[in-house]
Every structure is written in C-alpha cells, then in structure tokens.
Symmetry: C2
Subunit: 340 residues, 2 copies
C-alpha cells in the first residue's frame, strides 16, 4: 500500500562549516532518489521540520555531545511526518509520526524510537515544541536539574524562546516567582501576558542588568534556567542565593563565536553561594519522556500551559529560518511547515 | 581551678582591608585583658592557630558566605588550645580543644561546638588539618559532591595543599586514578611519593596544560576538585568527560583580584559534557562530621592517608604565614605553632 507521488527526495546537506554566524551558503539543496523500502521499514513525508539553536553545535568542528554533521551529510532535525508507504505492521499509511529525520522531505524509518501522534490531543506540530524536545527540555531542565520549591524565584534567560516560554509556566505551576529575560518589547509583552511570567525585562533596552534583576528579584535568585550565556548570565551569577541551582540549557549568545568569548571568571560565586551549575541533555531523560508528556499534556488541556509557534512556510526556507534564530526573530517555537 | 599565668591576651585584629595581595600592615597586634569567666565558660590558651586561603574572603568587602571581619575585629581562625581555667563542668583544665577562636592567644568559650581532642589518636595539630576542616573539606568535597567511581580519573588542582593532598589519597582509596597539579617540583615529588598521586605536573614549568592533561588523563577527566581556578581550571574544563562532576572548593588564583579576572566563557562545556560544577562549604556538612572523622581516623591509622604539616613558629608570624599561602609557600597544611 503506497501513496507516494514523487520519486525524488529534496534534502538540505551541509555544504561548508560556518565560521561565526551560519549563512545560507553553508547549506545546499540537493535531490536524491527515494530509497526502496525493506521489510520492517516505512516511508514518511515531512509535514513540519524543526530548526533549533542546538543545531549550530552539530555543524561546528568543535567537540560536542553528539556526532556532528559531515560535509555533504543531511542536516539533522526533528520532524513531524505522515506515513506514505509501509512494510512495517506497526505503522500504516496515514499515520502521523515524529521521526528524527533531518532537513529532508522524505525519510525511511524502521520505527524504532518513533512515536505515533494523536491529532486529537494537540496539533501535531506540538510534537516539535511544547509536547516534544523543547517542552521536555523545559520540564526536565527545570524540575529535575533545579528542583524548584514554592516561593522561590526562578529567572529564565531566552524567556520568549521555545524552551524559556515553557519554563516560566512550569515554574508558576510549581508556585515559584518567575522572572524572564528576553530581547524585544513584543516578547516581553507576550511572556507577561500569555506565559504567566511575574516580571520580565528586555535586555536590549536595559543598561544595567544587575540593577534590574535586583529590582525584579527582591528575594534574590534561587533558580536560573540559562538559555543564552554571556553578559546576562554574568549578571545573574552575581545575585544567586545560597544553594541556588542553575540549569545550563543553552548558550545561544556564544554559539557563533569562532573562539571562546572572554568574560569575568565566576566560579567563585558557586562557592560563595554553595550553588551548582549543571548542563544537561534532553536525550538522557528518554526513559522518563512518557511521564513528562502525560503531565505536560494535562497542563496543556487544563490551560495551565500556553504555547506559541512561529511557523515559517516552505521547505526551501529551512536555512533562513534556522539562521533567524540567532537574530532572535522567533517568539516561541520556530517550526518550518513543509506540507499542508 | 586555674592555671592562667597571664592577664593579657594578644590578638591580631584587622587594621585595614587589603586591595590585592594582603600585606602585614593590614593586621595589627594588640593587647587586651583576658575576660573574667562566667558560669558555663572556660578559658583556653592557643597551642596552634590556623591560616587558610578562605580567610582572604573574610577580610574582603565583597559578598561572601560568612560575615566578614570588621575593621578592628579579631581575625577569624580555627585553633587548637589547652583549657587553662574552667567554670564549665564538661571541660577541665588540661583538656585540649578545637575552638574556632581567631588569631589570639586566649579564648573564652561556652563549649558549644567545641571538640575535646584525644592526643592518643593523632597529634592534636591534626585537628586543624587532616582531622579538621581541611581534611573534612577533602572528604565531603570529593565523596559527596563528586561521587567518584572506581576506575574514574580525578584531577586535583592545588594538589599539594592542605585539602588537595588529602583529596588525591581519598581518590586512590576509592579506586580512582588521581592526577595532581601543583606549583613546584618539590610539591610534585611529595604528592607522587607520599600522597599516592598516579601522575602530576608542575604548572609553573608546563607551557601547555591542555596537552599535559591529555597525556596524563588518557581516558579524560571524570572528576575535578578545584582549589585554584583560573587558567588551570580553563584547561580542565576543555577535557571533561560526559557526566563529569566538578567540586569548586577554592579559587586561590582569584582571591586577590580587585575585580574579576577575565577568562574564556566555559559554561557551554557543561552542556557538551552534561557536567556539573558545584560549590560547597564544609560547615554545611557539620551533622556528618562524626562519621567522616571516624573514617578518616581509620585511614590514618591504617596508613592509607599521609599528611604533611607546614609549621610556622610564633604567634607574631601569623600574618606572614597567611600571606605566604598566596605565594604557594606551603606543602600540606600550614599551621602556626603558638605554644610549646
């Protein structure tokens, strides 16, 4: 049974490694034949593909937590796709699935680690955001790494991003005061109005982050969820409370530096506050995804969590959509819509 | 009952706050009368007084984990002292005790939190070192913060210091490979020969810390016990393994900076390695001191742990002995002997 209409697979491959900010010329659109299915496999066609800041690390030469993309290799990415042909009894044509498929129109999968999505729970695009990697990142990075307690102050950088916008809402659910930092008045308005942040500031129009944090966090900072690094994180470090927990989730301000940026040495503050800074990776929590998605789906249904998708139309716009992340273009989760 | 022979108490008070490296003129030797004892108190005379790097934080204006010493206040320090007069039924003249007494010859105490020392277990001076704050710092900072597992590689900076020299030995007891970093060939020789370090290097004569660490840690770095900070710590950060644990115990290379030194931003490495950096303070472990001292005393008795005391003679040399810590003068625990 097959509903494939094309024999050609369009793919974005890595043409060259960026130095500094990625450019569209670092990626190349190629066409390859769609492979024949073997027994146990299915073919799925992309509906939505993801662009995320972490991908910058995968196309860099520097050591990272996962193997990088080789020159000529298909760019990595999560996707939401519809099964269009199947030799796997567990996946039928028409099923909507979430393969880690890369920037391409078609993917062949043996189904391992692939979820079937239920459109009645939430729009399937949420499998790339609030009910996918970024939502789970917010969930485990806040709850597991930082263990926030009612009444504590949680500061979030990149607070209007795919992860940060969810972190603040989970912090509220847990009875914390949430304070967001983002770059843009529209973003600040959104996280205050829709994401339940108690306070927030636009770092682009704030001269003294330290003074602003003092004003917005009168009881100091117990938990910091860091998506950006750099001078914002410097300011937070100086105001952490005793036994503060800092979840180092992302450092988007640093990803395009050819060599490490210099900043004030801050490890001494960890001693002063007996605090911890901890990096984490969402894939390490895979055995617990089920419990987290159940809880997140519940919160979504009850209206305790809102989300925003920043949809870019068109497969050919993937590189541009990705590069825009580093200009702070997106509010919420940026997703590229490939197919209606 | 009293064996007091003097009515005068010599004390070192803080005369001025240092900018940068402390100088002897920051301290002033004064004489005050020994106070009268009230019921429940005892008077003890210092035998040994401690000098430790952490004291630099207590005489600085910057925020720290404990209230600082005021100008004119007695310099803080742990001591080992002999009871010379007592109105406390639990402490008799002749008892040897470990009050947190400061840089002074006599102290009046109500006995709260004060241990009686048993000279048959170990020389009483060890209550300031291997069986005191620095030994306990090594114990909890390594075992509790980092949870080292057999076969892991543990790197220690300040490895010939009071804390670092013990950390390497506990790491060996736990079946780890221990790699020490210290400043001086005599120190390297000592930690390799007496402290059981598997490998070590003198950072003062090593041009490329990174290359040296690669050579000495062929399986990467699982645990880092940091006493120094700065460029040594930068090099370690670049070579940590997945799920590395870093105990931030001290930053002696930074304590005398008037403002934070600049260095490469390294938090991104925590994400790459899913690692944590955690500050801690030994006083937070007070409820568990008993168990730790029992275990440490056992290791000492069995010869599994050796220690070295760097004894400076004479009460009047306290400031000089303290300042020398920042020149790396000491091997092992530096202690000032006040009384024969």
């Amino acid at each position: 049974m097959s509903s494939v209409t094309s024999t050609v697979n369009r793919q974005f491959v890595l043409a060259s490694r960026p130095t500094g900010l990625p450019e569209e010329s670092n990626f190349k659109l190629i066409e390859t034949p769609i492979p024949e299915l073997k027994d146990g496999e299915f073919l799925a066609r992309a509906m939505y593909l993801s662009v995320d800041p972490y991908m910058r690390g995968r196309i860099s030469q520097a050591k990272s937590y996962a193997a990088g993309v080789e020159i000529g290799g298909v760019m990595v990415a999560g996707g939401v796709a519809r099964v269009v042909d199947s030799k796997n009894p567990n996946f039928a044509v028409g099923d909507i699935v979430d393969p880690y498929m890369g920037w391409q129109e078609y993917v062949v999968s043996n189904g391992r680690g692939v979820r079937k999505l239920d459109p009645s729970v939430a729009p399937v695009s949420t499998a790339l955001g609030v009910l996918g990697a970024t939502g789970l990142t917010a969930y485990f990075g806040l709850l597991d790494v930082c263990n926030p307690k009612p009444g504590e102050t949680v500061v979030v950088s990149g607070a209007a991003g795919a992860v940060g916008s969810i972190v603040g809402q989970i912090a509220k659910i847990k009875g914390c005061r949430s304070v967001g930092i983002a770059g843009g008045d529209d973003k600040i308005e959104w996280i205050l109005k829709d994401c339940g942040y108690d306070a927030a500031f636009n770092y682009k129009t704030t001269a003294d982050y330290g003074a602003k944090l003092k004003e917005l966090c009168p009881k100091g900072i117990d938990v910091y969820f860091d998506n950006v690094g750099g001078t914002i994180t410097d300011a937070v470090f100086m105001q952490i409370n005793t036994f503060a927990r800092m979840s180092i989730c992302g450092q988007i301000s640093q990803y395009n530096n050819a060599k490490p940026e210099m900043g004030p040495r801050l490890l001494g503050m960890l001693i002063v506050a007996r605090a911890k800074a901890q990096g984490f990776l969402i894939t390490d929590y895979m055995p617990r995804f089920g419990e987290a998605l159940a809880e997140m789906s519940g919160w979504l249904r009850e209206g305790k969590i809102k989300y925003c998708e920043d949809i870019v139309e068109g497969f050919e716009n993937l590189p541009k959509a990705f590069i825009g992340l580093f200009h702070g273009e997106n509010i919420g989760k940026r997703i590229v819509k490939v197919l209606d």
